[in-house]
């Protein structure tokens, strides 16, 4: 490791996640592997926002799940503040997971439909004993408040909320543990453009206020450009290009990055710098 490791939060080294392919009906034989993530390395410093982009099926989500130990890793190492997550026992992982939380893509399936909003947010607080029992309610109110929901919503169920509101609940739940790293896995792709803007504003404000590190996964390059300081472009399980956001967007080197940038439809070039530099209508 180099001299800058004092603020290095997470380092993933050569992560490989392979899924076995079975054939046969009664006797299943392993016939090969799907290389979902094939040797990806990434460092995240504290307070940094990193975007991970690529088409569906390129392994972005699997990579994120792997470094959080939500998916089994075939090989590679994940260092989180100098501790190797891969060697950890499940019980230890559960304890350290409070420092890295995730917001999932689909707010319709990531919240338990039979729990009220209050208990969804309170559950991690109780599990990790973050606050005293007497302060629990106050903490839940505070969290609802910072994501812009009113305290009257405490006893409602997820199905009573719109997609944007549900995503706010998911963010409140993730922030309840005061994590150091927030992984946002396509948090806005299921939302309308106006709601998407609200959630993006919320994430970027909170990220700055709380000094969070953010790993932002998206297939929407405009969103990544808006929110991230560095970008990694993934294709077929590998990172094909990595660098500062401005470098990637203004001078893409890899042909795949160029195709990706060229493919985004952009409204009106005349509308104050709407356009990416190298896109022709």
């Amino acid at each position: 490791m180099n001299n800058f490791n004092d603020n290095l939060l997470l380092r993933a080294e050569n992560i490989k996640t392979y899924f076995p392919i079975y054939k046969g009906f009664f006797i299943k034989k392993k016939t090969g592997y799907t290389r979902a993530v094939d040797g990806v390395s990434l460092s995240i410093r504290s307070g940094e926002t990193i975007g991970l982009v690529g088409e569906s099926g390129c392994g972005k989500s699997t990579f994120a799940r792997s470094i959080l130990r939500l998916s089994p890793i075939t090989s590679g190492k994940v260092w989180f503040q100098g501790v190797n997550l891969c060697d950890m026992h499940d019980n230890e992982i559960r304890k350290i997971r409070r420092y890295f939380q995730i917001v999932f893509q689909d707010p319709y399936s990531s919240l338990n439909p039979r729990m009220t909003v209050g208990s969804i947010i309170a559950e991690p607080l109780k599990e990790h004993s973050i606050v005293k029992r007497s302060e629990l309610q106050g903490e839940v109110f505070r969290l609802l408040d910072i994501v812009g929901l009113s305290s009257q919503m405490l006893n409602k169920f997820p199905h009573e909320f719109s997609g944007g509101q549900r995503q706010r609940i998911a963010i409140a739940r993730a922030l309840a543990l005061r994590p150091k790293l927030l992984v946002a896995d396509e948090p806005v792709s299921a939302l309308d453009v106006s709601i998407q803007a609200q959630i993006l504003n919320l994430i970027s404000t909170l990220q700055k206020q709380m000094g969070l590190s953010l790993l932002f996964i998206s297939h929407n390059l405009a969103v990544v450009r808006h929110i991230c300081s560095k970008v990694a472009v993934m294709y077929a399980g590998k990172v094909v290009e990595y660098g500062k956001t401005s470098d990637i967007f203004d001078h893409p080197q890899h042909p795949y990055t160029r195709t990706l940038i060229k493919s985004i439809p952009v409204p009106d070039p005349g509308y104050k710098n709407y356009k990416f530099n190298n896109v022709e209508k």
Partner: protein, 325 residues
């Protein structure tokens, strides 16, 4: 001369729970001209899809046309009998649905589905129809169409499925193609290919396209004229360039300012629109529906909304047009 005229279309939906009728489309007026690409844009729940479906008279059971007409070649589509409308659907007016997985028949091969459409509208032998189907697949740029012909939809990728949908829709030489979010479920690179394909057909086949989308980028790059919808009403319509470059309605302005764009400063806060679209049965009836979310509203806005013509081919429904400038 307009190919399709939608006049004062109002469509009601009945809710068993609330025991009341709500207007899912409210006094919608627009025309589709020959050889034109028209965009319909708005948030989900603003009535875009129901508008697209009602042009083919595909209105769900709980819906009822309250007033208005849809004139296609001087015939009111809403007054046609089921047998008559069946001759229009797929032949004169074709539709490409959003989700190619659920809109293709899962138990029929690609060949069966294309041949079915062809034989329903043309008197041809099956062997000829298969030949045409093969050519259609070649037209939508599928490599080795003879392999795809005998496959079932689940064996194909999303992009190929949507190409098959397009092949079916253009198979009988339609005059109007309605594309209801044709690329929303697809990746950006596939989206670009599909839109390029549809645009390419415009040159050879001379149809008009109604492109329903929530993506202003897709609308900007692919349409000549655009209709902005909110709460079942038309908020603004006009030439795509005019509307997106110089929006007059705060809603259009809000949609545009919700999109992250390149600026000198990093991480500016997106202006966007506050709140969210009300559910159908809470649509405000006697005031401007956008009033609760509008940053530029005044007392003037507390009255029924009217779509006004401000320029040739430019309509806006707002009492404070361009107040945000």
């Amino acid at each position: 001369m307009a190919l399709l005229d939608v006049e004062n279309l109002t469509l009601g939906f009945y809710s068993e729970k609330n025991k009341k009728w709500s207007k899912v489309l409210n006094d919608v007026n627009f025309s589709l001209y020959e050889n034109e690409f028209l965009g319909i844009v708005g948030e989900s729940g603003s009535g875009k899809t129901i508008l697209a479906n009602s042009i083919l008279n595909l209105i769900p059971k709980q819906g009822k046309i309250v007033s208005g007409s849809i004139l296609f070649k001087d015939r009111d589509i809403l007054k046609l009998t089921e047998d008559q409308i069946r001759k229009v659907r797929g032949k004169d007016i074709a539709i490409i649905f959003q989700d190619p997985m659920s809109s293709l028949h899962p138990l029929l091969t690609v060949k069966d589905q294309i041949v079915e459409t062809l034989q329903a509208h043309r008197l041809i032998k099956k062997s000829d129809a298969v030949e045409i189907a093969m050519n259609l697949l070649r037209d939508v740029k599928i490599d080795r169409p003879e392999l795809v012909l005998n496959k079932y939809p689940f064996m194909l990728s999303g992009g190929i499925r949507q190409r098959v949908m397009i092949a079916i829709s253009i198979s009988c030489g339609p005059e109007i193609v309605i594309a209801d979010e044709p690329t929303t479920a697809l990746d950006v690179t596939v989206q670009r290919d599909i839109l390029a394909l549809i645009k390419g057909f415009k040159k050879n086949l001379n149809f008009s396209l109604m492109l329903v989308s929530h993506d202003l980028g897709v609308i900007w790059e692919n349409t000549d004229r655009v209709v902005v919808m909110y709460c079942g009403r038309i908020m603004e319509s006009g030439k795509t360039e005019d509307v997106l470059r110089n929006p007059l309605h705060p809603y259009t302005f809000g949609l545009l300012s919700s999109i992250p764009r390149k600026t000198g400063k990093k991480l500016e806060i997106l202006k966007g629109i506050r709140g969210s679209i009300p559910s159908l049965h809470d649509f405000p009836e006697h005031i401007c529906p956008f009033l609760p979310r509008c940053d530029f509203a005044t007392e003037k806005c507390n009255r029924p909304l009217l779509l006004e013509q401000v320029d040739r081919d430019r309509f806006v429904a707002c009492f404070n047009k361009g107040a945000f400038k």
